[in-house]
Each structure stands twice: as structure tokens, then as C-alpha cells.
Amino acid sequence: MKKSIVFILFPVALFSCKKEVSLPEYNVDPVVTAYLSPGIAFSLLLAHQQSTSSETFSGPSLDSLDITVTSNDTVYHLTSKGNGVYTDSELILRAGNKYDLQFAYNNKVVTASTVIPLKPASVTQSATEISIKQVTSSTTTTFPPPAQADPVTLTWSNDDASYYLIVVQNLEKNPIRVIDTTSTSADTTLIFRNRPTISASEDINTRSFTYFGRHRIVLFHINPDYASLYDNSSSNSQNLSTPSTGINNGVGIFTGINSDTLYLQVDKQ
């Protein structure tokens, strides 16, 4: 009865209606993708943005533009290789150097600047080998589940609280699954990562490993603009904004990176 009264009193509810709308023409700012890593030649990828009504996110490549990179007062004109790739084989990247990108597009000057960070220093890992119990269809399920193995801790020097990122990759050709039951999905990735951090140590949770075998752990020293790519975007009109980018009149990423590589063996318990 009470519900009926409420129903009568409020026949028209506050509700949301969903519809697909024709949004304005998509932004014309170009998409830059460039990770500047020391010891290799300069290379970047350039593309159009895609309309939000398109089937894919990434737009067509953008070729034949006059793009310059300046470093140590030397100006380099990049060569368009097609498919949006621009390179300069003479421009070998160096840690600690600053690189300024500039080109004109759609009557705007697109600029970006980055410094390649130094290689991570004083890197240690708490273990080079760990053991994990495999879970199969015949494994007896206990409740609660057994306590997990200690995490692998990486430490490094980070006096200036700059950003670091850990990426872990299984190197086996035919890796064996940690959880190998009939219900396990087939497309488990061989790579996983932690979120960027400004601390000087980070744990790799043993439950993150989905395969046994040899793993490569890459500790990236990254810039803040790359770290911000992991931020969630807003999705409502009260505070919607373009994702963070260090590129003026453009979007994407133009950032220097440096890294150190470690290895870890994950065995069956």
C-alpha cells in the first residue's frame, strides 16, 4: 500500500535517457607517439585522430610533413618513411639530453619537449627465484585460500621522487599456466605491469604471475607526462577534458624513457 501511494505521488521519475547523438566534428589536432630511449635513433609515429563514430580508435597515418627536432642547438629534419613513421638515423638519443619537437599542421604549430631520464640506479631485487603452487582442476579448494608467497621487492635510488614503472614479461616459448583449469581463459597475457610510482621501491605481487618460467622485469624511469596516461579520464560533461599530454596543439605522447632490466625465475612449488 505504501509503495502504491509513492507510486501515485510520483508518477514521473527522475530518470536518464540514453541516445546516440551526432557529436561535433572531431578534433583535428594530430596524434604523436614517440618514446625516446637512449642509444637508438630518433623515431616517431604521427596519425590523425579518429571520429568518435568510427569503428576504430586510431585514425589514419599522417605523412610527408616537415618535422624538426632540436637537441643541443642542432636542428634535425626528420624523414617521412610512410605509414606515419618519421626518423633520423643520425640523431642517436642520449640520456639526460633534451629534445624539442616542432612542426606545422592545420595552421597551428605543434610543439613538444622532453628530456631522457637517467638510467635507474642502485637497483636491487629481493629474490631472483620464487616458487608458486600451481592450481589445476584436481587441486583441492580450501576456504579461505592459502596465504600467498612473499612478493618480490624491487628497490632503487629515487632521491628526486621521479616516476618509475615496472613491466614484467614471461620469456618462455611455451609457458605453463599457474592456474590451469578448464575454466581458465585462453588469452591470458604474458606481460603485466604495476602502476607508475614515485617511491623508491615496489612489490611485485606473486599472484600477478600467470605463467611459470623465466621473466624479464623492466624498471622504467619515466617522465610525469607518461605517468599521466594511466590516469582515468572523466566521463561526464561537468568536468570532461582532454587527456593529459605534453604536446601543444597535439595529443599523444612525446617522452623520454630509460630502463634497467632484471630477471626472475618462477618455479612450481
Partner: protein, 916 residues
């Protein structure tokens, strides 16, 4: 009979046309009006407003010439003054006279108008039958019939010679002629509906060619609507000060509401104040944000004006006597905010009669009382609390559906995730308490104490207890989400009003205000088995605490009749804390600022050409401890009465703001706001300059006004984490962005003030632009920018019934939408997809419009006094789907747009009763 005699003697004593009685201090018998003592400060108020006020708050019946009285600026501070003395003060030097009839109705007349029109008003109760010999026979008698209080000429009056069949009816100009009058000693009878019949005794000396006869309005027979409209305006938009609106909360019930009669919501029906903000009780005045509007309640600053996500304001209309809103260009007495001032005065309460009343609606219950403790001490107390009625739940659930997906499943269904057994949900509510004591120990002093406490406890928590099958296994499992937002204000003030001399008055207030806001949104779980218990806590904790201890003194010194000086000093000690932490351990923001803001002001009001021109230059000086700088704010106001009806007003002023309210975006858990003090770098002291000019044409029944304004803003601050590269949480200083802005507009108003049907129509054309380099290289429309606003308010009174309807139209607010997409391959080999957005605020939401209607039926007691009503209010009567904001989700690379709408059709029922 005895009472009538006393009254008649009082009339003779008090109201001789020249009111000399007061000057000569002739002994007279006491009048009932002597027992009513007035304690009010009228500062350059139009005299018609003064009379309105006295009628409304002291129960007087005053009939006066509205048009003439509105041209007189009245400045006086009554402290325990009796009504006759108070009246005498209003009429002296103003070419006015007053009379009081047997019903204690007071008639104030403009003396000079009689002279100008050369009317000889004959008063029937002043002249006796002439006993001499007639000197003229068979002559023609002509003249006019007029209202003796307003001198308005009256058509349709029946004029006859007593004892004969001779008679006529006055024409549309009030003129009459009777031919063949038998003699110059006959008695003339005049009657007209709504007026006391009059007998005029002719004498040989009577002017036979121009005999103007004055009629008294019969107060007890007048249509109540006429008197009501004349005495009390719900909204008063005219006055001597530009951009000022006065609101009388007693009349708020006439306006449709959504659960509660609401002061701040009603202001949103006025030109220049944005109406399309259902989710904020704060006022967006002329493009300003709510934190740029200074809200003062009995002298203390109120920092949070919202109840229930902003759908209701924190002020209980039953405890408020009057609210004055300065939309801009405000005087040097006020400062510390960029946009506007809302000055709220609490009720004093009667020193004579106990009163008790209350309201109950589908949202809340409300109780108030007035207690006369002694002859000099009165008390008002009011308390209001929401109850989990249909409207409260309706809005609470609606808001939580909108604010976050995690809350969506929890609030509406009353069950936790998955519909688990043993789910319990907490209750939410708001309440507020108002108390005011008024003590008048001497004729020169008034002491007040005011206390206000209001709080919201918005609790969206739930807990899930151990299911039975696990409990049987000896395992305990408890988890739940604590989602508690508690915020509110506590404020108190102690005031001392002192009348040092008849020309020097002061008002000193010591006040304390505390705003607190605690957000606790955590998920905790406890898992236990014999010998081992694990507890996990994740979530956010947010605490904001603002303390404001202030002392201020305002002085008003009428040096001469044409020169008034206002001056004063003020000091505020701010202490503001804000902490924001995650998971009970990581303290991301820990801000604690304390500073002194102190200074003084001086303004000088010059009145020229018999008060036709009023010029008020002023300056306000402030010293802010944090920046260790002095801030100078020049002000200038001008008011020129071109004619009695037409006036020109203008104002200029510079303003600084030191305390700012910042919105912290949080998409998943809901945004929250916090107050911080300005500092030297991150959040600079913001400033504004106002330029305002306007014309108004006002008669006793109508007001037509137009005002234009331009307001520039500098060093305004926005807070956003959108551009922050810090993924570990909030970096306090990185996320503040400083910009500039401006707001300009023109407002048109037409108001009908008198009659059964009253109301107003307004239109505002406005533009509010911001400039923040982080968002755009160009100026872009501010979030609150509304270009066109049209509002119409109509109220009709018919016997005991009130009918009202309002219709609001506002062009759409700006918003930003997705514009394109791209993918970036990350270092781990995966591709992250991003959506870019259009230029900041280049798109517009659909236009907002809404109609509300209400009907009230009033109850009268035996003395025919209004003691309450029962009313129904229909909000958004045609269920317009007004868009609050839009949400965008990407599904298969298609952007799906979702409109999140404001409240749809919502009815409310209110019962209001009071003893007196």
C-alpha cells in the same frame, strides 16, 4: 464605550494635523499603540518601506500615499520607541500628517498635495451641524470626492442631500455637481463601497464651487488582498540602493516549493540570479559563483548554505525576519567577496505574546516559538528536521543514482550488492536549529544573541553480515561500505546596538562561525576464522574545518540632514584545515592555514536637492596577514530621483576575496568542496570591479526597472586534477589554476505590487566568460554562463485562497563533449585508447524551463487573523526533462551520451499552523 472614548481622545491627542502634540508633550490618555515599542534601524529606507515594515512586524495598520512616501528617504534608529512617537518622527520635516481612526488604523497624508490641488478636505467627524440662519438658497454645489489618505479621486461615490431626493454619483474624475441645493446649511451624505459613509454639514462659508470631500477607507471592510499587497511585498526590488532585493520570509508560502519554503530558492526567481540550479541553494549572482556570495546571518558568516545536496537551503524561513540581497556594487560596509551579499536577519520575537507554530510537509517538520520572557527580553527558537518521507528519499536516491555507479546499486533498492542477506542501510537526515534572544535594557541599548546550527548527515552506508552457512562453519565475514558525508555550520553572534545620541548609532557584533565537512567513504572487510582475523580498509577520508572568529563595529552618524557618515572596523581570525587521505594511511593533502583579516571602512552619504540626489562615496581598507598586504577598495553609489516615480541609480566598486571554496573533482565517489584561504602563490587573493547603472519607474502599483552591469574578475582560482601528472594522488599546489574572467548583462523587470493579482516578469541577457590558459588560449564561457533567462511569477489571492504559478526559462549552460579518439601504445605493449574533447564549454545543454504551481487555503482564528494554511505545491508541473549534465560512455568506439536530468514532477503537501 470606554475603549472608544480612549481611542477618540488618543486620536485627538496624537493626530492633530500638524502633530504638534508630540512636540508640546501635552498630557493625554494612554493609547493601545503606546504599548507597542519599536526597535529597528532604518537606514536611508524609502518611507513606504518603513511603513510596510512596521505593518508587517508590529501589526500596525498604516494607510499612506505610496507614491509620495517612496520618494522620502528615512533614516532613524528606534530603540524601544512607542508607536505615536515613532510615527511623529516619520512625518516631521516630511510635509506629512497623520490621523488614527477608531479601529487604530493610521492614515498618513501628504500635506502639500492638498495645497497643490487646492482641495479642502472636509472631515465628517470634525464638523457639527451649523445652527445659524442660511444665507444662500437654491444654488449649485460642486467639487470632488477623494480618498483622504492618498488623495486619490474616487469615482462612483453617491453624493446626496439628506432629507431630500437630490443626489448624484461622482464621475470617473471624482467630480460631482448637485443642482438646486435648497440651502447652505443642509447636510451632504457621501457613501462609497469600501469607505466609511460621511456626513458633511454645510455652512454659509463653505466653498460651494469646489467642495472636496475626503472619505476614510474602511479598513475592516477592505478586500484583504489589497491591504496585504500594500503592506507586505514578498519581494521588494525598489529602494534607495541599486541592485538590492528585500525578501519577507513570512510571505514565502505563496510561492510554489519543492518540499520546503525556501529563502534562497525564492531569490532564484529574481532577475540576475541564475534559476537553473536545482542542485545548489547557493546563489549564482550575475555570473558569480556561490562562494563569491557573502552570506551573513545575524552578523556571522555562513559558509555552507546547502541541505540535501543543495536542493534546500540551510535557513529556516520561520526563524528569519528579513533577507536583503545586494547583487553587486554593495557599500563599503560589506567586503571579502567578489560578487554579492546576502544579509539575513533573524526574528526578534514578541515581548508581549507567546506564540507557537509549526509546519509539516512531505520533506520535514518544523517547529518555532516566540517567548516573551520579560518586558525587555524576548526569545525566538525554531527547529527543523527532515524525515525520511517520500520527497527526502526521492531526492536522496535520485542524487545517488546520478553521482556514482558504485552507489547506484546500494541506495535505491535497499539491498547491498548481490542482494545478500543481512544487509542493513543507514539513515540520512538534516536538521537546523535557530535561537535568538533580544534584550532591551534601556531606551538606548539593544543586546542580541543569536545561535544557529545546521547539519546534514548523508549516509549511504551498508553492511553485510555473515551468511548463515558460513557462520555454521565458524567463519565470520563482515564487509560493508561506509559512505558518510557530514557537513554543517555552527554560528553564533552577540550584538550590541547603541544609540549614543539621536544622530549617532552603533552596532557591534562579536561572532563565531564554524563550517565542517567530513567525508568518509571506505570499504572495510573483516574475515575471521578461529584464531585468525583479517581486517582490510580501503577508501578516502576527507576533513575540512573552517573557523571564523570575528569582531565588527558599524557606526552611523547623521552629521546634518544632508550628510550621513558610516564607518566601522572589523577583524576576522580564520583557521582553515583541510586533509585528504586514502586507505587510512596515505595523507595526500594536509593544509592548515590561519590568518587575520582586519581593517576598516568609511563612507559618506550626501543628499542634495531635497534628497533628490544621493551620492555615497566610500572606501574599505583590509590587511590580510598571509600576504602581509593592504587592500584598498573604493566604492561609489549614486541615486538620482529624476521625478517622484523615475529614478536613476549607479554604482562602482572594487572587491577582494580572501577565503575560497574549491571543488575537488571525484568522478567515482562524487565531487566534494572545501574551503581554503588565499595564499601568496597557489591561490592568490582574487579581485573584482563592478560597474552598474539602472533606471526604475515606480508607482504605487507598478515597478518597471532596467539595470546593466559589467564585472571584471582577476586572480580567480579553479582546481582540477585533470591535468595533473601525479598518479599517486593529489599534489596540493599543482592542481590550482589561476585565471581571469568577466561578466556582463542587462536585466529588465516589471512588477505589479498591488491588487488581488501580484507578481513580476523579468528578463536577463547576460554573458560570463573565463580565461584559464590551461583550458584554452581564448576566453570561454564559464560553467555557470546562461545567456537568456526569463521568469514570470504570478500570485492571486481570492478570499482564503492563494494561487501562485512561476515559470522559468533559461537558455542552456555550456558543456564540453568528446570530439575525437586516438590510441597510444604503452610501454607494456598494450594500447590505451583515449577520447579527446571539444574546446572548453563550446556546446550548450538544452534550454531549461519549468513551471511550478501552488494553492494554499488559509485558516483564520476568531479574530480573523491568519493562523496557518494547508497547501499543495506542484514542482515542474509539466515534467520537463531538464538536463543537469551529460555523461559519456564509449561502447564499441561509439560515444553514447546520457542525459542526467534534474527533478521531474514532484508534488508536496504542507500544513502550517501557529497560535497567533
Amino acid at each position: 464605550m470606554k475603549r472608544t472614548l480612549i481611542v477618540l481622545i488618543s486620536i485627538l491627542c496624537i493626530c492633530s494635523a500638524q502633530s504638534q502634540i508630540f512636540k508640546k508633550q501635552v498630557k493625554r490618555l494612554p493609547s493601545p499603540l503606546d504599548k507597542i515599542k519599536i526597535s529597528e534601524h532604518f537606514r536611508m529606507e524609502p518611507l513606504d518601506s518603513v511603513y510596510n515594515f512596521l505593518c508587517e512586524h508590529y501589526g500596525l495598520k498604516i494607510i499612506y500615499d505610496t507614491a509620495y512616501c517612496s520618494t522620502i528617504l528615512f533614516d532613524y534608529w528606534y530603540i524601544g520607541t512607542t508607536v505615536p512617537i515613532a510615527l511623529e518622527i516619520t512625518i516631521r520635516d516630511n510635509d506629512l500628517s497623520c490621523t488614527i481612526d477608531s479601529t487604530l488604523t493610521i492614515y498618513v497624508k501628504a500635506k502639500h498635495i492638498h495645497n497643490v490641488k487646492k482641495r479642502t478636505l472636509a472631515f465628517s467627524n470634525n464638523i457639527k451641524k451649523y445652527q445659524g440662519i442660511p444665507q444662500t438658497l437654491k444654488f449649485n454645489l460642486s467639487g470632488h470626492i477623494a480618498d483622504d489618505s492618498t488623495n486619490e479621486l474616487l469615482a462612483g461615490a453617491y453624493v446626496s442631500i439628506k432629507g431630500t431626493s437630490l443626489g448624484t454619483i461622482s464621475d470617473k474624475d471624482g467630480a460631482y455637481t448637485i443642482n438646486d441645493v435648497p440651502s447652505d446649511t443642509v447636510t451632504i451624505s457621501v457613501s462609497l463601497i469600501g469607505y466609511t459613509p460621511a456626513d458633511i454639514y454645510l455652512t454659509p462659508k463653505t466653498d460651494k464651487n469646489s467642495l472636496t470631500i475626503g472619505l476614510h477607507q474602511e479598513a475592516h471592510m477592505l478586500d484583504e488582498a489589497v491591504i496585504t499587497a500594500n503592506k507586505i511585498d514578498l519581494m521588494k526590488m525598489s529602494g534607495s540602493t541599486i541592485s538590492t532585493i528585500k525578501l519577507s520570509p513570512e510571505k514565502l508560502a505563496q510561492i510554489p516549493n519543492v518540499g520546503e519554503k525556501d529563502i534562497m530558492r525564492t531569490f532564484q526567481l529574481m532577475p540576475g540570479i541564475s534559476a537553473a540550479n536545482e542542485s545548489s541553494s547557493g546563489l549564482y549572482v550575475r555570473g558569480g559563483t556561490p562562494d563569491q556570495n557573502l552570506v551573513i546571518y545575524d552578523g556571522f558568516t555562513v559558509y555552507q548554505v546547502d541541505h540535501l545536496y543543495g536542493f534546500f537551503s540551510a535557513f529556516n524561513a520561520n526563524a528569519v525576519k528579513e533577507v536583503e540581497l545586494f547583487k553587486g556594487g554593495f557599500e563599503a560596509k560589506y567586503g571579502g567577496r567578489l560578487s554579492s551579499v546576502t544579509d539575513i536577519t533573524g526574528k526578534e520575537g514578541s515581548t508581549k505574546q507567546f506564540n507557537l507554530g509549526g509546519d509539516v510537509s512531505l520533506l520535514s517538520a518544523n517547529l518555532f516559538t516566540e517567548i516573551p520572557i520579560t518586558e525587555n527580553l524576548s526569545m525566538v527558537a525554531a527547529v527543523r528536521r527532515s524525515w525520511n518521507g517520500p520527497i527526502y528519499n526521492w531526492i536522496f536516491n535520485s542524487f545517488n543514482k546520478n553521482s556514482g555507479s558504485s552507489q547506484q546499486t546500494n541506495s535505491g533498492s535497499g539491498r547491498g550488492p548481490g542482494g545478500a542477506d543481512g544487509v542493513t542501510k543507514a539513515k540520512s537526515y538534516f536538521y537546523d536549529i535557530n535561537t535568538r534572544l533580544t534584550f532591551t535594557p534601556t531606551k538606548k541599548d539593544v543586546f542580541t544573541y543569536s545561535f544557529f546550527n545546521g547539519s546534514d548527515d548523508l549516509n549511504n552506508s551498508f553492511t553485510v553480515n555473515t551468511p548463515a552457512f558460513l557462520a555454521n562453519m565458524g567463519i565470520s565475514l563482515n564487509f560493508g561500505t561506509t559512505d558518510v558525508t557530514t557537513y554543517g555550520n555552527t554560528g553564533m553572534s552577540m550584538g550590541w546596538q547603541r544609540k549614543w545620541t539621536s544622530k549617532l548609532h552603533s552596532n557591534t557584533v562579536l561572532s563565531y562561525s564554524n563550517f565542517y565537512s567530513d567525508r568518509n567513504r571506505i570499504t572495510n572487510g573483516t574475515f575471521g576464522r578461529p584464531g585468525d582475523t583479517t581486517t582490510t580498509i580501503t577508501g578516502i577520508f576527507e576533513h575540512n574545518n573552517l573557523k571564523d572568529l570575528s569582531l565588527r563595529s558599524d557606526f552611523d552618524w547623521a552629521i546634518t540632514k544632508w550628510n550621513h557618515i558610516g564607518f566601522g572596523f572589523f577583524g576576522t581570525q580564520y583557521d582553515i584545515k583541510y586533509t585528504y587521505s586514502q586507505n587510512d594511511t596515505a595523507l595526500l593533502v594536509n593544509s592548515h592555514n590561519a590568518s587575520l583579516l582586519a581593517g576598516g571602512y568609511l563612507q559618506d552619504q550626501f543628499l542634495f536637492f531635497k534628497n533628490k540626489l544621493v551620492l555615497t562615496p566610500g572606501v574599505r581598507l583590509s590587511y590580510f596577514g598571509t600576504t602581509q598586504k593592504q587592500y584598498t577598495e573604493p566604492r561609489l553609489a549614486l541615486n538620482y530621483n529624476i521625478t517622484h516615480k523615475l529614478s536613476f541609480k549607479a554604482a562602482y566598486g572594487e572587491y577582494y576575496q580572501f577565503a575560497n571554496r574549491i571543488t575537488r573533482e571525484d568522478i567515482s565517489a562524487g565531487s566534494s568542496e572545501f574551503w581554503i584561504l588565499s595564499d601568496k602563490t597557489t591561490v592568490p587573493v582574487s579581485s573584482a570591479v563592478h560597474y552598474i547603472a539602472g533606471l526604475s519607474y515606480e508607482t504605487s502599483a507598478y515597478l518597471f526597472g532596467v539595470e546593466g552591469y559589467y564585472k571584471s574578475l582577476d586572480n580567480i582560482t579553479q582546481y582540477t586534477e585533470r591535468f595533473s601528472a601525479n598518479t599517486s594522488g593529489i599534489s596540493y599546489s599543482q592542481n590550482f589554476y589561476v585565471g581571469t574572467g568577466y561578466s556582463q548583462g542587462i536585466e529588465f523587470t516589471a512588477q505589479k505590487k498591488l491588487g488581488k493579482f501580484t507578481g513580476w516578469v523579468s528578463y536577463t541577457l547576460a554573458k560570463t566568460m573565463d580565461h584559464f590558459a590551461i583550458f584554452s588560449a581564448q576566453d570561454f564561457p564559464a560553467d555557470q554562463d546562461v545567456r537568456h533567462e526569463f521568469k514570470i511569477v504570478g500570485m492571486y489571492k481570492w478570499n482564503r485562497w492563494d494561487f501562485a504559478a512561476t515559470w522559468i526559462y533559461a537558455s542552456g549552460k555550456p558543456y564540453t563533449a568528446p570530439g575525437g579518439s586516438y590510441g597510444v601504445t604503452l610501454l607494456d605493449g598494450t594500447t590505451e585508447n583515449y577520447v579527446t574533447v571539444t574546446s572548453k564549454n563550446t556546446l550548450r545543454l538544452p534550454d531549461y524551463h519549468r513551471m511550478d504551481v501552488s494553492v494554499n487555503f488559509h485558516f483564520y482564528n476568531e479574530a480573523k487573523k491568519d493562523v496557518g494554511y494547508v497547501g499543495i505545491s506542484l514542482f515542474n508541473v509539466y515534467a520537463r526533462e531538464n538536463v543537469w549534465y551529460k555523461e559519456f560512455t564509449v561502447v564499441d568506439n561509439h560515444v553514447v551520451e546520457t542525459n542526467v536530468n534534474y527533478l521531474s514532477f514532484t508534488p508536496n503537501l504542507t500544513l502550517s499552523l501557529k497560535l497567533k
